[in-house]
Amino acid sequence: MIEIKHISKSFNDRQVLDNVSGTFKKGQTSLVIGASGTGKSVLLKCMLDLVRPEKGATLYDGRDFYIGEEEDKKNIRREMGVLFQGGALFDSQTVHNNVQFPLDMLTEMPEAEKRDRVEFCLQRVGLEGTGNRMPSEISGGMKKRVGIARAIVMNPKYLFCDEPNSGLDPLTSIKIDELIKEITEEYKTTTVIITHDMNSVLSIGDYIMFLYKGKKLWEGNSQTILDTTIPELEEFVFSNKALTKMRAEKRK
């Protein structure tokens, strides 16, 4: 479980996050949604301690990530897997080596065991046989899959995905969403996804947090989001005409 408590962050007097709190539970896919520029990615960076908030705390199963010894922090980091927006694959390394990288750096595993683990993870994301290719030789969707394989290679307790659907066609987006959902349920990870994709919200959102101008305006799930009466959330959700129609039918 991940708890964020009263997170506030500003850049050059511009308040980007204002007192944001929430709880992301184990085995659930939790989504942080909101329009562009509402502070979703900054919230993720605060949770990962890539950006240190001015106020607040992030607790990983009760362990405060911002205070304590460097070794404790390193241990928490080893329990994390992160899928970055563009995949963040290392350009100079093959797909196989990209996935193996965390094992090389953070474990003492024998080479054969590492190879098996990497093959398993690539197979899990449907990329068996692509290990020798370079990141420049694979598509955007495949890069995301490799990113997911790298994120799960260490058997993480906490999985973070920053806009996993961005730049992908609808079919690939659905597949990526399904894959993340499956991995969350299979490995009982605490999964946090930053997105503004309504298809993801409706299909995999066990818990949804809506951010608006740096503040948490609403929280709920994919069932309750269509019944919202909060104008800002309505504007965000029902910018899609199909959803407006769906709500009208539901109300009928």
């Binding site: 960076k45 990962l48 980091r77 992160v82 970055f84 963040a88 290392f90 350009d91 965390p102 750096m105």
Partner: protein, 243 residues
């Protein structure tokens, strides 16, 4: 200005904290020696040979007095090559090749979140990425300076003897005449210092890139110009200190 220097010093400090295992650095050090040192041999060789040749031809053309013995030409080629051309001039060329490469690579890694990916894994990205580049630079630059000095003198020999402006005997006599071995040491010291400056300044510029492709290009340009300025200032200070 002071804040930039302060950030640069903090960045240098970051390279030596939370380090990874020796094996990790050793493998990356060997890779960087190839990237920085071995891949620069060709450009260094071309530049050194031609600079030596031009120095020989120009010196001979300007020494018109019959009172000056002809072996002075190779004497001047030797001292110019060892004291300035093989270290300073060669490092200015390397600032363009190696500096822009380092800044471009790190800048691209920064904007594509590869550096964030390393940090999230608990790896000190500055130390992991930059320290091997720094060590490879301070190791290979002096070797390149030695190669450059040798090839510069050879370039002068070829240009002088093939065009007939100096005999091989005079050239050899000139490069042996009043030779000060300490000058070779000066060239090595200079290359060591310039290697440190070029690699760290370029890495600093690349590591703190933010934005997109345009900013990566700007970081590369800034890395080359700042490295060249630093090399020239350090060259003056070392000249004052060592001669």
């Amino acid at each position: 200005m002071f804040s930039i220097v302060g950030r640069y010093l903090i960045f240098l400090g970051k390279l030596f904290t939370r380090r990874e295992t020796f094996k990790v650095y050793w493998n990356r050090f060997l890779d960087e020696c190839l990237n920085i040192g071995i891949s620069s041999i060709f450009i260094v060789a071309i530049v050194a040979v031609f600079i030596g040749a031009v120095t020989c031809v120009q010196t001979r053309a300007n020494l018109v007095s019959p009172l000056i013995p002809v072996y002075i030409v190779s004497n001047i080629v030797r001292d110019m090559t060892l004291l300035e051309l093989s270290s300073t001039f060669m490092c200015v060329v390397l600032a363009g090749k190696v500096g822009s490469n380092i800044a471009g690579e790190l800048g691209t890694m920064k904007i594509t979140e590869q550096i964030d990916a390393l940090e999230v894994m608990g790896i000190n990205s500055a130390s992991y990425l930059v320290l091997p580049k720094l060590l490879a630079s301070i190791f290979t630059f002096p070797l390149l300076a030695i190669l450059s000095g040798f090839l510069g003198i050879m370039g002068g020999y070829l240009a002088g003897t093939l065009t007939g402006i100096i005999t091989p005997e005079d050239y050899i006599y000139g490069i042996r005449y009043s030779f000060i071995p300490f000058n070779v040491f000066i060239a090595i010291i200079k290359a060591f210092v310039f290697g440190f400056l070029i690699s760290t300044i370029s890495a600093f510029k690349g590591y703190y890139t933010s934005g997109g492709a345009l900013e990566v290009g700007q970081a590369s340009t800034a890395a080359v110009t700042n490295s060249c300025i630093a090399v020239l200032i350090a060259d003056y200070l070392l000249a004052e200190l060592l001669t």
